[in-house]
Symmetry: C2
Subunit: 373 residues, 2 copies
C-alpha cells in the first residue's frame, strides 16, 4: 500500500531505531531512576543520554518524557492554568490543545481566543498581540498546521509573548523533524512533540521540552524515586513529572531516531520538499479540486477536496481502488475546518515522509485526477 | 549480575515478547484508530486483540491503555473524585495512590483513611468497613504490598464495597501475573496494572481495566479520532480515555506477554513459590535480620533489614561485593514504612521472577548471612 499518512505517524522506522528498541528490551530493561544497583543506573544513563540528545536537537534545557504529544500538552496546559485567566491561541490548534482549554474553562473559568490566520493562511503576530488581554498568561501556537501545513512565525510570536511577559507554548507535533527548532531562539518556554512522527521514532513516548524554569505544577502524581517519604508530589523538572516507570526501550530508540535524523543529508530534505511541492502544485491544477493553504506551508503535507465529494468518500476510493492510504475527516482540528468551511465534508490529507518514493506521489496525483473526472 | 528487583520491573523479556514488539515496529506502525485505511485498521485490530487478551486475563469488560500503572491509577482517582468526599484505603498503598489522594485533598477537600493491617500484617475487611463514613465513595486497595508482599483479601473487601454501594479500585501492580485476578468475582470496578512487571511485557504501557459502566470523568484531553467536531472530550470507554497516539508495538508485545503467561505451567509457579518461601525462611533464620511480613504474603517478594544497618548500605554491599541487585529505601510506600517503623532506615527488598535460578537465591541468602555477621 502507498502510505501517505505520515502526519499521523511515520510508518517506516529506520533499522537503527528498531535495533535500539530491541537491544534495550534485551539488555536495558531495569527500572530507570528506581534503585541504585548498576542495572538501574545503566537504564538511567540511557534516559540521561536521550535527554541530552533531545535538548541538543531543539535547543532546550530539559525534557520531560510523557506518553505522547497529547500527554505533554496536557501536562503544560493543566500545569500552568490560572483561574479566570486567558490564553491566546490559533484556529490551527489540534484537539490536544483545544480540549484541555475547553476543560479548563469548565473547571476554572480559563478563557481562550483562537486567532484566525491572515488571507494567506498564516498567523499574523500582530493579531496574536491584539488578542492579549490583561488576564492573558500564555500564548499557545501550533508550529505547523496538521491540516494545511501552514507554518506559524514562531520567532516573532515568541517576541510578542516575551514583550508581554507571557508564557509561550509551541505544539511541535508536525514540525520537529521537518523544520529546525531552536527553543532559545524563539523564546519558547515549552515545546511538545512526539518522536513517532517526523523523527521516525517509536510510538509510546512524548517529549515536553522546557527552557529555563517556567512555572509548572504536576499533572500526574505518584512515585518518582525521590522524596518518597512525603505524600506531596515533588515539583522538580523532570523527575516530579515522570511518575511511574519510564519506557526505556522507547527512550533508547529515541536516541537512535535523533542520530538517524541528524545523519540525513540536506539532499534528502530537498527531495522531500520537491516531492511535496510537486504534489501540491499538481493537485492545484486539477479541475474541481480545492487545495487548502497556499503560502508559507510545509510542503510535505497537503489537504484538499474534490468538488461535490465528502472527504471520506475520496479517501475510501483512494484506499480501495488505488491502494493509497490518506486521511479524511477533521484531523482533530475542528476550528481549522470551521475556518476553511469544511466542517461538514472534512478534507483529504496526504502527507509524505523523506522515504516516500517520487513514483508514489506521481501515482497519487494521477489517481486524484482520475477520481476528479 | 544477579537481578532480584523484579518487583520494580522484570528484567527478562521473553523472546516472544521482543519478537512481537519488533514485528510491530516493522509491520504495524500505522496510527491505530486514526483513519480508515487498511494500515490504520490493521493497527486498530491489534489494539482490539490486546483488549480481548487483557479482558480474558483479569475478567473485565473493557481496558483503557495508559502510559503505566501510575497513569492508570491517576485516571481512576481523578476521574472519580467527589468534592469533600472520603476514600477508604490502606497503609500499604504506593505513592501512585497516596499522592493523587493528597492532591485531591488540596484541590477539593477529598479525605482518606489509610487502614492499618491486623497483627498478622493483613488488611481486615472489617477494618475497611469500620472506616466507611457517610461521604465515602470509594475503596482503594493494593492487592499485593510491594514492601511486605501481604496479599489483601480482595474478594471480601469487594463484598464490603458492594454492600455499601462504594466504588472499588484495586492496584494490581504486584499481583497481576502472580495471582489469578477475576474482577467480576471480586466485584471490582477498576483494576490497574502494568504488563512490564508480572507479565514480562514491555514498559511504556499500562492497563486500566473496567467492569460495567462505573463513573469515570476524562483525565487526559485531546484527539480521540471520534467526535472531532466538538471541543468537549468524548466520555466513551475506552476511546475517550486514550487521547493521542497509542503505542501499537507495546500493545502487540502485550498480546505476546499474555500468551506467554498463559503458557507457563503450574510447575513454574510452584517453583517460584518454593524459591520465595525458601528465601524468606532462610532470611528469618539469620540472627540480626528482621523480615517484614510473615503471614499471607506472596512468597516471591521479601523485605528485610540487618540490625544497625541502613537499607541503602546493605543494598550497596550486595551490589558492589556480591553483584546482586536489590532495592533499598522506601519503595514509594511511606505509610507502609511508617507502619513498619522503618521510615528512617527503609528496607532491603529482594523480589524474584519465575526465571530467577534457585542458585541465585541461595547465593543471595548466603551473602546476607555473611553481611549480617
Amino acid at each position: 500500500m502507498i502510505y501517505l499518512d505520515n502526519a499521523a505517524t511515520t510508518l517506516h522506522k529506520p533499522e537503527r531505531v528498531i535495533r535500539a528498541c530491541k537491544y534495550a528490551l534485551e539488555n536495558l530493561s531495569a527500572n530507570a531512576g528506581r534503585g541504585s544497583h548498576p542495572l538501574a543506573v545503566k537504564a538511567a544513563n540511557i534516559v540521561y543520554r536521550a535527554r541530552k540528545a533531545v535538548c541538543s536537537l531543539v535547543g532546550c534545557d530539559e525534557v520531560i518524557f510523557t506518553l505522547n504529544c497529547t500527554d505533554a500538552l496536557n501536562t503544560v496546559l493543566f500545569g500552568t492554568a490560572k483561574p479566570r485567566g486567558h490564553v491566546v491561541t490559533t484556529v490551527y490548534e489540534h484537539n490536544s490543545v483545544l480540549r484541555p482549554l475547553r476543560e479548563l474553562n469548565k473547571r476554572m473559568g480559563v478563557e481562550f481566543t483562537a486567532v484566525a490566520p491572515d488571507r494567506n493562511g498564516i498567523i499574523d503576530p500582530a493579531d496574536i498581540e491584539r488578542a492579549i488581554r490583561p488576564n492573558t498568561y500564555m500564548v499557545v501556537v501550533n508550529h505547523v498546521s496538521n491540516v494545511t501545513g501552514a507554518v506559524a512565525p514562531v520567532t516573532r510570536i515568541g517576541g510578542v509573548a516575551r514583550r508581554h511577559g507571557l508564557l509561550f507554548l509551541v505544539d511541535g507535533a508536525q514540525s520537529v523533524g521537518y523544520l529546525d527548532v531552536d527553543m532559545h531562539a524563539i523564546h519558547c518556554n515549552y515545546l511538545c512533540f512526539s518522536p513517532h512522527k517526523g523523527l521516525h521514532g517509536t510510538q509510546g513516548i512524548g517529549c515536553l521540552c522546557v527552557n529555563g524554569t517556567p512555572p509548572l505544577n504536576p499533572y500526574r502524581f505518584g512515585g518518582t524515586g525521590t522524596s518518597s517519604h512525603t505524600l506531596d508530589q515533588p515539583q522538580d523538572i523532570p523527575e516530579g513529572f515522570e511518575c511511574g516507570t519510564l519506557p526505556v526501550h522507547n527512550i533508547h530508540a529515541l536516541i537512535a531516531a535523533v542520530t538517524e535524523h541528524k545523519n540525513l543529508s540536506n539532499r534528502t530534505f530537498r527531495r522531500l520538499a520537491a516531492c511535496g511541492e510537486y504534489m501540491r502544485a499538481e493537485l492545484m491544477k486539477i479541475p474541481r479540486v480545492t487545495v487548502y493553504g497556499k503560502h508559507g506551508v510545509l510542503p510535505n503535507l497537503v489537504s484538499f477536496n474534490i468538488e461535490g465529494m465528502n472527504s471520506s468518500a475520496t479517501c475510501d476510493i483512494l484506499a480501495e481502488q488505488y491502494d493509497i492510504a490518506t486521511r479524511c475527516g477533521l484531523h482533530c482540528a475542528p476550528l481549522c475546518h470551521q475556518y476553511l468551511g469544511t466542517l461538514s465534508t472534512g478534507a483529504v490529507r496526504a502527507s509524505l515522509s523523506y522515504d516516500t518514493p517520487e513514483s508514489d506521489v506521481e501515482f497519487f496525483v494521477k489517481s486524484v485526477r482520475e477520481i476528479a473526472k
